[in-house]
Amino acid sequence: MDVLYFAWVRERIGIPKERVETRAATVAELVAELSEREDRYAAAFADISALRVALDQELADFDAPLSGVREVAFFPPMTGG
């Protein structure tokens, strides 16, 4: 699946987008898997209450299942307007 990062999550991880092969069943499992990779991921995901997640461009919860999902995006709370 494609994993996208926006705003300070993108800056902390250092890339806007990457392709991830994973068997994670839920968003939370994917977060745990990425956090174990490198410090920059662990730093970005240190406090998931400060993060939002979208699955295929729809807001979702961290316990949402990933089956069939093609695009996951992590970002801070939105500040439009």
């Binding site: 979208a54 970002f75 801070p76 709370p77 500040t79 439009g80 307007g81």
Partner: protein, 147 residues
């Protein structure tokens, strides 16, 4: 309904006029415009607005459709910019048309409240002393409770 997510500036007068011309059957038109304001310290150089192409348009369309379901509306217009904006530049506008003003005002407020916390935009303030992402405010999230 027109949803525009764009980098370039927009002409508020031209947009408002063209919106009004397309809604002659409606007696009330409300427009709201958001402007980049300078910081209290007066040293904002640039506001950078990042967004999530694809999701942004989907989220704005959904919010506008929800407004059309809840109120008796004519047309709805949402324009939101991204990229680098200077203090005083217009960030976004919404316009609503309705037979009566109450629907037009309420729908415009609803659009603004949802757009602030549910459309994937992020603002970053660049000043001489550095750059900082704007933090979401609890009151913006709480504002959704009234709808």
């Amino acid at each position: 309904m027109r949803i525009a997510v764009q980098e370039e500036q927009f002409d508020l007068g031209a947009e408002a006029n063209s919106f009004a011309r397309g809604n002659v059957a409606h007696g009330a038109i409300v427009t709201f415009t958001g402007v980049v304001r300078d910081l209290a310290t007066g040293d904002l150089d640039v506001m950078e607005i990042e967004h999530y192409p694809g999701m942004t348009e989907r989220a704005l369309t959904k919010i506008a459709q929800e407004a059309q379901k809840r109120w008796s509306l004519g047309d709805v217009l949402v324009i939101h910019r991204h990229g680098r904006l200077e203090p005083g530049e217009r960030i976004m506008m919404v316009a609503t048309a309705a037979p009566h003003r109450k629907d037009a005002f309420e729908a415009a407020e609803f659009l603004m409240d949802y757009l602030k916390s549910r459309a994937p935009f992020w603002k970053k303030e660049i000043t001489r002393s550095g750059a900082e992402w704007v933090a979401a405010r609890d009151e913006d999230e709480n504002a959704l409770g009234r709808w």
